[in-house]
């Protein structure tokens, strides 16, 4: 099936939040902190603006607690006298003209008495920089299996390494935006978002409203990648506060520089590995320390850290593992959800470290992985016994075959001998990604979903899960149509409107197809049961029964319902961080081939092969596109995407100097799926959306190491950084004549 809303998008008819006509609306703008930390001593309104025309909102206008409620309540909706990061929202203004609103925002001067900010998460804070708890640590987590110290002491070989990753901007092509208006007593907020119920909860809390007086509707969303998981609560609250004060609709849409400066990014990380092995490369002990830069408020950092440490040991079997993680407060913009959610950082370290181990021991990186890859019956770091029937070595073999790995190694040796200024290398990463919320998260969410039988005989899926490009509308249509034997035209996917749809959970964590898709199947079955049909009833039988029901129950709603149920045999101990961290893992082996120009130190990916086992693939075109897009986002993170900060502020907050890959920067991404249906996911599907960004960075850096013999351990590996760590001096001198 083709993408359901595809033609609307191709013809420009799809209406995103900034495309929606809104009678009598004001434009909102945000006044932000100029300093990373300090007390606000004055807010001055310069006289070049006629302030009688401007709606102004500050913290005193917030009806309820000045808190953006999430895991903690430490983040204010608007700074009240004190700021903790540059670009923190202090004041809101609105005017019918966007230009006047922009000028007004620029005419507000926020004066801050500066205090010493904590800006480097890697160094301990000085006493005067402590702003959270005793030591600025937002969250600590630990996983322990076996006896790491004893195993390390006894290990014939110990290899250590430290690996770092930088912040990454989501660069969803549609910036954050929200509109808010009042319908009678009901506040309605509509905009670009992944999690309508997160936004609803934030509105209810800070505005002191119940769900009968607040309603959230998702507008078609132009990309999210996690950037529209928690941040939309902030901009929704801002639009709502302006609309409540003005008594008129307000539109708040960020331009690109504001979006890049003020919204969340991927957590920077530093990961230290100390690994004990036998001389032939069998893992004996993994001691891993993970540190994440959390930024100025807690937001989602504890759960990003959780997913990060759970993935930190890689897809390998090892009897002795200790993983200690902490997320650290700094006076930077809060780092937040981004595709992969901590796992790309720790898997970068793990997979780069595997190649460092291989080189140290004189082993083939492929063999090192082959002997350590987890086999059915063996357990992960949290003690989760893997028994899914996937042959992980076969996934690796498939990637080697498809990429022509061995042949290319030979060809590259010849190429490198024949060329003076360019070097080629090929390398790989093997990895995994857990689908759905971590540990008991899905049970806690207790997602609920409805499939309605409509009076015209069609069925409608009522869920809070949204389309942001990843294919929800299409895949939900397929799952529903297949389950009930209907055509896609008989399936309606309802708008994600909290006044109409139950809370089926957020559109995050690679859970939509696997977890929510399964709820659709069960709600379809429930609908059939309510109609007195058995599970074999399909197509016309279902349609006729729906029509008949409505004739017999005029004006009533016919709903099939499903509530999440934990798959059998899953247990999780959140105190000890032991047990089944995820109901299912997807497995992958990615191969990257690079060409490095020794004169410019630029690295170009010239071939990329992505092989993964994600259960059953429901829509091949969409699944392949998810993998290709994730890989290219990973190539950007690995080689070019660098958030540059000065005094805690992103200073390259525009697409002119924050570079993401173009079509000409990347090769075709060759994708293959190994299918092993997962019994508790829709049609056998497992999660897919995040997996593809875990593998590219380590595979690419391993390939650079193979190509030029350097030992890069930090990303982005920009030409400048490669030039700093690699000494191509002689060869550059040689190549000058070229």
């Amino acid at each position: 099936m083709h993408r359901r809303e595809g033609l609307a998008k191709l013809t420009g008819r799809e209406r995103y939040v900034d495309d929606l006509p809104l009678e009598g609306a004001l434009w909102g703008m945000t006044v932000r902190s100029p300093a990373p930390r300090g007390r606000i001593t004055a807010v001055r309104f310069r006289p070049e603006v006629d302030w009688s025309e401007i709606v102004v909102v500050d913290a005193r206008d917030i009806p309820g607690p000045n808190e953006i409620i999430l895991i903690e309540r430490d983040q204010p909706v608007l700074a009240a006298g004190y700021v903790r990061h540059v670009h923190e929202a202090v004041l809101l203004v609105a005017h019918p003209s966007r230009e006047v609103a922009r000028r007004a925002a620029g005419a507000v001067e926020v004066v801050v008495a500066p205090e010493s900010p904590a800006l480097d998460f890697r160094v301990p804070p000085r006493p005067e920089q402590i702003q959270y708890g005793r030591d600025n640590v937002l969250k600590r987590l630990k996983i322990e299996k076996g006896d790491v110290e004893r195993a390390l002491a006894a290990a014939p070989v110990v290899v250590e390494g430290v690996y770092e990753t930088g912040a990454q901007e989501h660069v969803y092509l549609e910036t954050q935006g929200m509109i808010a208006w009042l319908e009678g007593d009901v506040l309605v907020v509509k905009g670009s978002m992944q999690c309508p119920y997160y936004v609803l909860n934030a509105l209810k809390h800070a505005l002191g409203r119940d769900e009968h007086r607040a309603r959230v509707i998702q507008a078609p969303t132009g990309g999210g990648f996690g950037g529209k998981e928690e941040y939309p609560s902030t901009i929704a609250l801002h639009a709502a506060l302006l609309a409540l004060k003005a008594g008129r609709p307000v539109k708040l849409v960020y331009d690109r520089p504001e979006d890049m400066a003020a919204t969340t990014k991927r957590h920077p990380s530093r990961v230290r590995h100390r690994t004990g092995l036998t001389k032939d490369g069998r893992l004996l002990a993994q001691d891993i320390e993970v540190v994440l830069d959390g930024g100025a408020y807690v937001t989602l950092s504890p759960v990003v850290l959780s997913r990060g440490i759970i993935h930190a040991a890689g897809p390998y079997s090892c009897d002795n593992v200790r993983i200690q993680g902490r997320a650290v407060f700094t006076n930077a913009v809060p780092f937040g959800a981004f595709r992969g959610f901590g796992a790309p950082q720790t898997l970068f370290a793990c997979e780069r470290h595997m190649d460092v181990i291989a080189r140290t021991l004189g082993l083939d990186p492929v063999e090192l992985r082959r002997i350590n890859l987890i086999r059915d019956g063996q357990s992960t770091a949290t003690g989760q016994v893997i028994r899914d029937g996937t042959d992980r070595v076969a996934v690796l073999e498939r990637a080697l075959t498809l990429s022509g790995y061995r042949e290319k190694q030979r060809a590259n040796r010849e190429f490198n001998a024949a060329h003076r200024a360019t070097r080629r290398g090929i390398a790989l990463a093997t990895f995994y990604h857990g689908a759905g919320f971590t540990g008991g998260g899905e049970v806690h969410l207790s997602s609920r979903l409805h499939v309605a039988g409509l009076p015209d005989g069609r069925v409608e899926v009522l869920s809070a899960n949204i389309e942001m490009g990843q294919g929800t509308l299409t895949v939900f249509t397929q799952i529903t149509a297949d389950r009930l034997g209907l055509g896609p035209e008989d399936v309606v996917i309802g708008e994600a409107d909290t006044a109409r749809v139950p809370n089926s959970g957020p559109t995050v964590a690679s859970r939509t197809t696997m977890v929510v898709g399964r709820l659709i199947e069960r709600a379809c079955d429930d609908l059939r049961h309510r109609l007195g049909l058995d599970d074999r009833a399909r197509g016309g039988a279902v349609r006729d029964a729906v029509l008949r029901w409505h004739r017999e129950h005029p004006g009533q709603r016919l709903l099939g319902e499903a509530i999440y149920e934990r798959p059998p045999g899953i247990t999780w101990d959140d105190e000890r961080y032991q047990g089944d961290a995820y109901a299912a893992f997807a497995w992958a082996a990615y191969v990257a081939e690079v060409e490095v120009d020794l004169r410019t130190c630029t690295t170009r990916v010239i071939d990329f092969v992505a092989v993964q086992e994600v259960g059953k693939v429901i829509n091949e075109t969409l699944a392949r596109g998810q993998v290709q897009g994730g890989v290219v986002q990973g190539i950007g993170w690995a080689l070019m995407e660098e958030c540059r900060f000065a005094d805690g502020a992103m200073i390259n907050n525009q697409l002119t100097n924050y570079l993401i890959p173009t079509s000409d920067d990347v090769p075709p991404i060759r994708v293959a799926f190994v299918e092993n249906p997962y019994p508790h996911g829709a049609q056998g599907a497992k999660g897919l959306g995040e997996l593809p960004i875990d593998g590219p960075a380590p595979a690419i850096l391993n390939a650079v190491a193979a190509a030029v013999g350097a030992d890069p351990r930090a990303i982005p590996l920009t030409p400048e950084r490669l030039m700093e760590i690699a000494d191509f001096g002689l060869r550059i001198a040689d190549s000058r004549a070229l």
Binding site: H2, R3, E5, G6, L7, K9, L10, T11, G12, R13, E14, R15, Y16, D18, D19, P21, S97, E99, H170, V171, Y172, L173, E174, T175, P220, T221, G222, G223, G224, F225, D255, R256, P257, M468, G469, Q470, G471, T621, L622, R624, G625, V627, Q628, G629, G630, V631, V632, Q633, Q654, L655, T656, I660, P661, T662, S663, D664, D665, V666, P668, I669
Partner: protein
């Protein structure tokens, strides 16, 4: 917009004549989107990097965010709204659109390449599409759709 500085212009938009009073500093992108309601043209970066606002100006693709509206006086402007949806099938089949925010700009450039296949003698599709950033597809779906629309032997390669 301050009334005293408004200037009057006339141009052809999607085949029809348009006359407007506009601010001299107004961008073509804003004129199209907020004054004329043609919201198919998207803003992605506002500085000519992403190509989401690609329109044709006298037949050539340009970034509407970089064009002051007064400069299109007497010119022909065409937007995504003028395209024939019947030519878009390969984009659906190849998965060339995901979130859709870059898509109208991508389609404008892609169809322009298709209309000028001689460019593929000297440039690859990937080079010609490099002015349109996409964060979702990884570009394969887009490049394949352009190639598919060109027929069996695109020449420019992937």
């Amino acid at each position: 917009m301050s009334a005293q500085s408004a200037i009057s212009i006339a141009f052809t938009l999607n085949g029809s004549p348009v006359s407007l009073d506009i601010d001299p500093a107004e961008r073509l992108l804003d004129t199209l989107r907020y004054r004329l309601g043609l919201t198919g043209t998207k803003e992605g970066c506002g500085e000519g990097e992403c190509g989401a606002c690609t329109v044709y100006l006298d037949g050539l693709p340009v970034n509407a965010c970089l064009v002051p509206t007064y400069q299109v006086r007497g010119s022909r402007v065409e937007t995504v709204e003028a395209l024939d949806p019947g030519r878009l099938e390969p984009f659906l089949a190849q998965g060339a659109t995901q979130c859709g925010a870059c898509t109208p700009g991508v389609v404008m450039t892609a169809l322009w390449i298709r209309a000028h296949p001689e460019l593929l003698a000297t440039h690859t599709i990937r080079e010609l599409m490099a002015g349109n950033l996409c964060r979702c597809t990884g570009y394969d779906g887009i490049v394949d759709a352009v190639a598919a629309g060109l027929g069996p032997d695109p020449g420019g390669g992937r």
